[in-house]
């Protein structure tokens, strides 16, 4: 019970202080909004929007989570307030879950901006909503944990920012969003398969447009494994690097 008081308050504090602060929330909404609008303006028919929706959802999540988490944690480490968390009688796993929960929720919220927005323009019947929701959650989790992975690898806020982009941009181009996996040059394809976003986008594509490339179950399992690996790796690094 006691530890959940800590968990909940860490989550609420981060939400209030970081994610739901006007600059961030507007970034979180404007960004997906702008992407959606950009594609909308370019597309000539309904089919097009539906085609690009999975990508926009994935990118919205990615931009709301990875760098956000990496930066907030690095920022708290610089100001040394992060030490308070390490000094509290909270198990490290639970602590890191509390720290990441805010970004995960924020990522999920961001994902629904383009979904709700596109509902005004196109008919989304026939979408497998359960798969959409599960994959939105899993993309959010893995992108957030990628942020955690970055946070434990850097010391400065600007490094967190740069490092996030280092992962983020190649991921956008290699995840099958602009170039479908099936058309990707064979020698690049392995690279796509080591990126968690690829699996997330593929589930979304299958759920929304029924044109998945990978079996949905494999994608789910891959995402879960990615998430697990990045979380455990990060915890290990926290123990090694932050508790000297």
């Amino acid at each position: 019970m006691k530890k959940w008081i800590a968990f909940w308050n860490i989550l609420v504090k981060d939400m209030k202080n970081y994610y739901l602060k006007p600059p961030n929330i507007s970034w979180g909404i404007i960004f997906p909004f702008a992407w959606t609008l950009m594609f909308l303006l370019r597309s000539k028919s309904d089919v097009d929007i539906r085609d690009i929706l999975p990508g926009i959802i994935a990118i919205s999540i990615l931009f709301g989570t990875t760098s956000m988490l990496a930066v907030t944690i690095t920022f708290e480490r610089k100001g040394r307030s992060f030490e308070r968390l390490l000094l509290a009688p909270i198990d490290l796993n639970l602590l890191m879950m509390a720290k990441t929960a805010g970004a995960i929720i924020f990522g999920i919220m961001n994902a629904f901006v383009p979904i709700v927005f596109s509902l005004f323009f196109i008919n989304l019947s026939g979408v497998n909503w359960i798969s959409v929701i599960v994959s939105v959650v899993l993309i959010s989790v893995t992108s957030t944990f990628l942020g955690l992975f970055i946070a434990v690898s850097v010391n400065e806020v600007f490094e967190a920012q740069t490092f996030s982009n280092f992962f983020r941009f190649p991921m956008i181009f290699l995840c099958g969003l602009f170039i479908p996996l099936s058309q990707m040059p064979v020698f690049i394809r392995p690279l796509s398969f080591v990126l968690p976003l690829t699996y997330g986008v593929d589930i979304l594509k299958a759920a929304i447009n029924n044109d998945g490339y990978i079996s949905m179950w494999i994608s789910f399992i891959a995402l879960i494994l990615f998430g697990l690996f990045m979380f455990l790796f990060s915890i290990r690094n926290v123990k090694r690097k932050w508790i000297m």
Partner: protein, 322 residues
């Protein structure tokens, strides 16, 4: 009874050994002062005791809990005030305290009551709505101390609580430390202000270059340098004319002149004032002042460590300003 027992504690960073196998114990209810120059290993030691650093070797027992094995079990008994005030800049004073309380699983009603109480005790009641970043240095420090005791820890670790703070705030902070101690909190504090340690602490450990060179009560330490009882007289006329007479009349005493009007009388036994007052009187001297000269902890420190205090302080302040 010992609340904290530390044995053979060792910590290296690469090839450099910051803490070289130290042993000490802190008694329940006391204020233990950890005194040492820059880089002596004070903060590193606190970090190991509280769970921010892992010892390479040694044992730490806090209220019987093995902290090396399972620090998480002990952490609710521990309060920490680091050498830099490290609360959340964007949050106001009250929210900062309430948040810190929540980390220890304290329920909403209780943590709000407690935060309000502490804001008042620490004289911060009318700053509760200001964000932490708008606090002055002294206020920040006070709030950080309040955050350290909000979960009513058994032992509070204070890392240089008054460094970089003006005289008045430092005085208030020392008072708060005393009050917390009177209310039953054991205190472990580091400082480089010897007078502060002398005034505040029951027992003191000197640490130099990662080694504890001496521990003991303030009185015990004083005894080491207090081999003599010394009384100092200041009179109204030049002492030269009676100096010889003095040594003849008081052969058992060591008599030293400080300046033309001041002299010190020392003895391994108790010095009684009366004979000297009569002596001065009969030679038509008026005594302006007579006082007992006590050795200070500073002398003990210099004697034990060979480090000059002024030098240590200057380095410290220069270092902190960077």
């Amino acid at each position: 009874m010992n609340i904290l027992e530390v044995k053979e504690l060792k910590k290296s960073f690469g090839n450099f050994t910051a803490v070289k196998g130290i042993d000490f114990a802190v008694k329940k209810g006391e204020i233990f002062g950890f005194l040492g120059p820059n880089g002596a290993g004070k903060t590193t030691t606190i970090n190991m005791l509280t769970g921010l650093a892992r010892p390479d070797e040694g044992t730490i027992f806090l209220s019987g809990i093995d902290c090396v094995k399972d620090i998480k079990k002990a952490q609710h008994k521990i309060g920490i005030v680091p050498d830099e005030s490290n609360l959340y800049d964007e949050m106001n004073g009250f929210d900062n305290l309430a948040f810190c309380a929540s980390l220890y699983g304290i329920e909403k009603k209780k943590r709000e009551k407690k935060s309000k109480e502490l804001m008042e005790i620490f004289g911060l009641a009318d700053t509760g709505k200001k964000p932490f970043k708008a606090y002055s240095k002294g206020m920040k420090r006070k709030l950080t101390i309040a955050a350290g005791i909000i979960h009513e820890p058994e032992i509070l670790f204070l890392d240089e609580p008054t460094t970089g703070i003006d005289v008045e705030s430092a005085r208030q902070i020392r008072k708060l430390i005393s009050t917390m101690n009177e209310n039953g909190t054991t205190i472990f504090m580091t400082t480089h202000y010897i007078e502060e340690a002398e005034r505040l602490c029951n027992r003191i450990g000197f640490i130099v270059q990662g080694k504890i060179v001496r521990t003991g009560t303030v009185e015990e330490m004083m005894q080491e340098v207090q081999t003599d009882n010394i009384i100092q007289f200041t009179v109204d006329k030049d002492l030269k004319s009676i100096q010889e007479k003095l040594t003849i009349d008081f052969p058992k005493f060591v008599i030293e002149t400080v300046d033309n009007f001041t002299l010190r009388i020392g003895s391994s036994e108790k010095v009684s004032l009366m004979p000297f007052m009569q002596f001065f009187n009969s030679h038509q001297y008026t005594i302006h002042e007579a006082k007992i000269i006590k050795p200070s902890l500073e002398e003990v420190f210099v004697k034990v460590t060979g480090i000059e205090i002024d030098k240590m302080k200057k380095e410290k302040e220069g270092g902190k300003r960077k």
